[in-house]
Symmetry: C2
Subunit: 436 residues, 2 copies
């Protein structure tokens, strides 16, 4: 729909060029759906570049009647520069993922107004007055809608792209449609599943306090085997169309609303990678919280809420996913004809629980991987980075690494989400050697 | 190379038509690579249709200098007729798989001389004086080359299309290239992983002796859960480019040579499906052997060889696959940089053994699935079908089902291939109730 508008209004096969402010104004003025949303004279629109991510240009454009966000991919990693090229096609995959999500969870993702594949450009509704969730969590804010919204987002986007909902033919079509997004997958493969465990130029950590831990992680062969098993799942398990980068920096919130953005890493991969990303980032928010205290215990209410939120993310996701399976499980996996009658229904329910237990195991592993990469790898989290005292930051990070290492090496010690939050509480006040 | 010859010599974008004898003669005469192979005047070539498979037309063409096999896909399942349509594209996937295999195991697959995608036609070298291995096994023949050849075929075709050998980008490209072969996958999904366990019009079994067993399999919910888990792996684990139909009817043999044919079911799926197919068909040959005895014990040497062969198929496959991993494991999975030095090498070796144990578990499950479908589903095996006395046939089939059911429900009782052959020996002389 939006793309058809685009192909009528804007030139559909534009040759790529970076759109600077004046260009962009003219371009948007020629797209009826966008011009109508903005309203008023194009000359009066305000345009500001706000991209604070690592990869793209992002413009906020406001007119008399409303605003839009314009995201244009650059042919390289913005954070690094032209020395690290990255295909423009990621914009197309982001567009495909956004439309998939918009169909399943309208209101939980920005509506797409226009897409131009040649320009690697997506124009979306402006999400306001939301802020990036990570910023809110650093400030100690509570988001009562978040659990329900993110559980619904994950349950619906994952379930409806899985073999539980789709025919095998449709699923293979989806896998093939996203197979070309391998350059973005490669970033994940390198930065999450490989580099933090070996000497890599781009790695960094809070020195000197974490030097010994970073070295221990680089030498821990059991950990290397565990992360390699997780990498193999990432390479080899197209369970569902996953967001692929579902951290709290990809989620915009108010108290009343949750909007998930930036699915340019989307591909058919393991569901646990998305769920683990959410849980990992909440665990880091929890363990970073001590670093943002103005006085001891000042953020206790926030921290209690956060632990409950972590538990409820899994519990509510699991509840919704299972309910979808029970009511809309018409895919080729687990055909209902093999489980007839009350006895069949009961046996299938046992199987569903086993499926969720396996998925939870993946989630724990991927969650651990996401924590470790944020502390020992290239891309760090503001949750920790904004802790001013580096020694205090290192203490919070060391606690997180201690938890993550246990989660990765001893998944059977974390059979439930309660076991994860219990371990997080236990490590909350642990002091690493350098702090004694 | 072959396809280029085709696109020069024959019309590359022919509209599909079924080639009858006269047509075929004219067509082949216009393909230089084929005409040269056959030799002499086209009018003197002998052409015979020999397709005894379920899906396609197969012609043997012989000339003064040599012969070729011509395989043309029909737009429906030959066995059933036009009421069961099947895409012609399978010919293209067969061609892709054949060229992949020819690159990795030349000599173990027929060389492709010509391919015409529009006509759904592949012309291959004629494999002679080989016979279909299943026929040889029914006759009690021994094939000393078989183990080494099939182990090499599987080790090389599977390893070199896996994440252990490929970059993730290359692997995703391969997955996408075969995603369109879903109609052939669907046949497997239905006929192997679903129908034998429910009432389905096409199911058949040796009546009345197996009526009770067939009913028990249709009502065994634990078995339905187990086959559904295997189906999920089939749907969801693009580990490698598998042959997809690797039974003893897809293998041509002499005492000195082994050639694998008919990879039209090829796609990126679980490796255990191919290995399980080979082992299942050898187990069936073993348990059918009693039905072909002229006197008790007359085929003992053959049966001993068959059990050794089953063991060696796994052992030699595993040995070759591991050796390839050790020497050519440059793919994105298990990167060597995470396992440096002697300690790293030792840890990775432990991980390799764990990988093979998991793969063996899949193999046992898929092997069981392949046995059950041949006795309770649509497509049966000549191994059993040619046992003239139906009661004796039912006894051999009941033994096979007993073994397969245990393998599917209690995989942990089959940790090694020796446990599988031991169970096969134990069930070799078991008598079902109806035989007492």
């Amino acid at each position: 729909m939006s793309s058809e508008q685009g192909s009528v209004a804007g030139p559909p096969q534009d040759e790529y060029r970076i759109l600077h402010e004046a260009d962009l104004r003219d371009y948007l003025a020629a797209v009826p759906a966008v011009a109508a949303r903005l309203g008023g004279a194009a000359e009066a629109w305000s345009i500001g570049e706000v991209g604070d991510g690592n990869l793209n240009l992002v413009f906020i454009v406001k007119g008399a009647d409303g605003g839009v966000a314009v995201k244009q991919a650059l042919p390289y990693v913005r954070l690094v520069g032209e020395s690290w090229p990255l295909p423009l096609s990621r914009s197309h995959y982001e567009y495909l993922a956004l439309t998939h999500q918009a169909r399943l969870v309208p209101g939980l993702v920005p509506a797409v107004l226009h897409h131009n594949e040649g320009l690697a450009l997506v124009v979306m509704e402006l999400i306001e007055p939301h802020i990036i969730m990570r910023k809110g969590l650093i400030a100690g804010a509570l988001y009562p809608r978040f659990v329900g919204d993110i559980a619904t987002f994950m349950a619906r986007t994952l379930f409806f792209s899985s073999d539980l909902a789709l025919t095998a033919a449709k699923k293979k079509e989806g896998i093939a449609a996203f197979a070309g997004n391998h350059a973005l997958c490669k970033i994940t493969e390198d930065l999450i599943f490989t580099d933090p465990y070996r000497v890599a130029e781009q790695n960094r950590w809070t020195q000197p306090w974490l030097d010994a831990t970073a070295a221990a992680f680089r030498e821990d062969l059991d950990l290397h085997a565990a992360i390699s098993r997780l990498k193999l799942i990432f390479l080899n398990a197209p369970e569902a169309l996953i967001h692929g980068d579902l951290h709290t920096g990809s989620i915009m919130v108010t108290e009343d609303s949750t909007v998930v953005i930036d699915p340019e890493f989307a591909f058919y991969g393991p569901m646990g990678f998305d769920i683990g990303a959410v849980i990992a980032n909440l665990l880091m928010a929890y363990l970073a919280s001590a670093g943002h205290e103005t006085s001891s215990g000042a953020r206790r209410v926030f921290e209690v809420w956060l632990l409950e939120t972590i538990e409820n993310v899994w519990t509510e996701f699991s509840h919704e996913f299972l309910e979808l399976w029970r009511t809309e499980g018409h895919g080729d996996a687990y055909p209902l004809t093999l489980f007839p009658g009350p006895a069949g229904a009961a046996r299938l329910e046992v199987e569903r629980q086993a499926y969720m237990a396996r998925l939870f195991g993946d989630t724990v592993g991927f969650s651990a991987a996401k924590i470790i990469r944020r502390i020992l790898g290239l891309a760090h989290n503001a949750d920790f980075e904004l802790i001013e005292d580096p020694r205090q930051r290192a203490i919070c990070e060391a606690r997180s690494l201690r938890l993550a290492r246990a989660m990765m090496l001893e998944p059977s010690a974390f059979p439930t989400i309660g076991a994860v939050t219990m371990a997080a509480r236990m490590v909350r006040d642990w002091l690493p050697d350098f702090a004694n």
